[in-house]
Symmetry: C3
Subunit: 352 residues, 3 copies
């Protein structure tokens, strides 16, 4: 597959490279970053989100599609390829990854790692190989405190729920079965719930500079944050329920000494990536963590592409400033890497 | 009234326009923005807040008053008018809106919309005409979950309180009556309480560019956020009470796809404003919303002027950067609009 | 002692001043700030944190030590003195303050005030002399609501805990004794717990400009913030426990009118500092506060040096922008003061 993409790339006119993405997730970030580095931009968007990209004026061309699935059409791809478009994948690409081999348009990054990311077992293996501390995956009989239950029907954090202990788990699991939402234990995943501060690190691995860069840090803002503003008595009397639906992100900074473990972990994740999916990590990735009251870091997820949390760091974050001393954010960092690769005639090293 | 203001404006020396405001709320933001665009600035402030404006040095002239009500005096207004001052209204102006027709000094914006904003019924009508999803307004017998109760004595969020259900409402309402804080149901407003993430959008409607711009997004920081750090058991044992007193704001970014509804809503609010209060919206406005665990947006308030949450976006926010590519924040955006209107000799279109 | 330091300083080559600090806490902020003002930088760091300072490239020289205690060695100090190094103290210096008189290397700031900061009784006296509102210090029999208990073994917020009332206190205190963590009431401190919004103000007192500057405002992010995302029922059923371990910081802005009291308090703290420790405050200091639901400010701590919360304001905060109109943050502000003092040949006024 990689050879096929590189073959497409070889016909690109390096003086006319355009940067494109799907209109969603972190497209404003990506497209603005591309423009900051002097690229023409293409936004593939649906009618309902068109207003976003028109309002901000960061797309030189808006291609409207009824469904992002049109990206799988050969003729559509031919159009992008003819225009020398490099696609920047983000979270909204994940839904189509089962059919990744149908997309011949070059991606910035490593599409094979995105497949690792979306497979829970592969992802766990990756993090384990990197030696990272993770919340334990539990069988029902192993539940010994608060646990979080994720079931396959749940989308983007919605439907995830907590159980206080083993009994509480069985009660809620029976209820889910009665409601027809799950059939058996195979349909769910139970994980130790680490109580503490959640912290999302957005890194960039630069093949051009051969280094890991910390670009920004954020904390997710979810519907469940609303319960922290409801007195306990009211919560209990009303039986309020909510979930982990992601609404946005807060910028944060981390206690400086804790950066050491985060950076070591990021390097380990990059090293392992080279073993599991040649040529390994390229560009943005995110470690999703929680720090407990011993300030110990638990990694519960890795994303092998730009995450929406990087939007907090537009146009700059404390970390990107210390490193770069100029406006630098993930979308621009991506475009800068492409620019440097073009100048070095090394585009093949960052494309897959 | 508008004619009267425009008449005052006609005698202004366009080369000597000064920007003024009351020293409170978002005055640092407004005055710094004015200076960034090359205007002289005037800050009307009380002795106790003088230290703020002296410390930051953004006012070319500080006029000390014992009470903001002095703005209602004719001689005081004559002084401002003689100095070609355009006033930028903010939240602290609201207290005087009952007597707005006594202020002949030109305002940037549309003072009639500020009156709509301060009248609960008019505000609800405005939002309904714009077709926005709002929390339901409830009669006691309609309470079917957590509800928030606002009573007229309550100031700025202080005194608002939650009830878990109908019984809880009646119990707390009787207590308020016993304490003499309210007399009847007419003195309170009950609203469905949407559990989720609160999100405040600061928009700017530019008559010069005929477009809605998203300038920044914040989340309020209130005294009640303190309870999220008190374990439930301690809350219940201690009977802790607190309220919605606003203390500050956090900068946030929103999940990108949710921006579509926010932008559509903002456009609808602007369209309706033209029907209800000629010439319609001018400049900053805010939609105060909460997103539930279906990521559905409920608008619970509209402000027809700059809000204090825009202070998070000084000197720049991810959104203002994507749109403007330079330092841009609400105070500066206002001054820029005035600057452009002066150049186009169209000041009358943005003044009321 | 001060004379001794000034004597060391007199031999410094003012054209070759370097800025150094320990690699921890806010060193990225300090070192980047120094470089922005054109200084060479030295980072003294331990092997485990070396990765941080290598990743960000802000240290012209990294001196690796096994333990920060090496700073107490004469030969090590001679090396720094020979290189004209001015050290910028931060929170990680506090551990060595008992032996401060062993460090002859000039510090930016006033090391005597750092000793006041680390002594609870002295600190309380300082704040009382400045007339600030503080949470009451309580005897067990005075507990009349939620209180926070701090015991001497607890480090950096870890181990602090809340009690709901007097009975709850005695129960938990007996448990601590049974566990051998404390012996008597002398080992603990009980403080009224103010329910509300915690707010950390980072000020800079400039002897060169003779003024107090507000540089940034943050809110701590602690492990205990995790409980605000756990439904009350789950908290109670599971008996979840966590603590105040600091993980990071959020940038915030404050309701503008509340800045007046904060600025008055900062000035009072500076005035008192001149009485208690000649020559008084120099450079960064922090007031750690909480605002209750009357928006009343309680100061529970003062830090007489840069705090980690200032990292949120790199490279700029709303407040530093309004004052300075350029990228300005605590590390750079320190370096700027040193630069100005060198130009005025007044380095002795800001060194101790």
């Amino acid at each position: 597959m990689r050879e096929k993409i590189l073959k497409v790339l070889r016909d690109y006119d390096l003086d006319e490279i355009k940067i494109g993405t799907l209109g969603s997730h972190s497209a404003l970030n990506i497209l603005k970053g591309a423009k900051d580095e002097g690229f023409e931009t293409v936004c593939i968007c649906r009618p309902k989100e068109r207003i976003i990209y028109e309002s901000f004026g960061v797309a030189d061309e808006i291609i409207e599609v009824d469904d992002f699935k049109e990206l799988l059409n050969d003729s559509f791809q031919d159009r992008l390829i003819k225009d020398n478009v490099i696609l920047i994948p983000h979270g909204s690409f994940n839904a189509y990854l089962g059919q990744l081999n149908k997309i011949r348009v070059p991606f910035f990054g490593n599409r094979e790692l995105m497949i690792w990311e979306t497979d829970r077992f592969k992802q766990r293996k990756w993090l384990e190989m990197a030696g990272l501390r993770m919340p334990r995956s539990l069988k029902p009989e192993e539940i010994d405190g608060i646990a979080i239950v994720k079931y396959h029907g749940a989308m983007g954090g919605r439907g995830y729920f907590l159980v206080a202990n083993r009994d509480d788990f069985y009660k809620k699991f029976e209820k889910l079965k009665a409601e027809g939402l799950v059939e058996s234990l195979d349909d769910i995943e139970i994980q130790e719930y680490i109580v503490g501060a959640n912290v999302y690190f957005s890194f960039f691995y630069s093949p051009m500079n051969e280094r890991v860069e910390l670009i920004s840090i954020d904390r997710r803002y979810e519907a469940i944050d609303g319960i922290g503003r409801i007195p306990a008595e009211i919560q209990i009397k009303s039986g309020v329920f909510t979930s982990y639906t992601v609404i946005g992100n807060f910028p944060i900074v981390l206690r400086e000494s804790l950066l050491a473990e985060a950076l070591e972990s990021a390097k380990a994740v990059v090293e392992v990536s080279k073993e599991i999916a040649y040529p390994g990590m390229v560009g943005p990735f995110c470690l999703e963590t929680v720090f407990d009251d011993n300030a110990e870091m638990y990694v519960f997820e890795v994303s092998a592409r730009i995450v929406a949390g990087t939007n907090v760091g537009v146009p700059i974050s404390p970390y990107s400033y210390v490193l770069w001393g100029e406006n630098m954010y993930m979308g621009r960092r991506i475009a800068r890497e492409i620019r440097v690769a073009i100048e070095k005639d090394a585009l093949g090293e960052i494309i897959y």
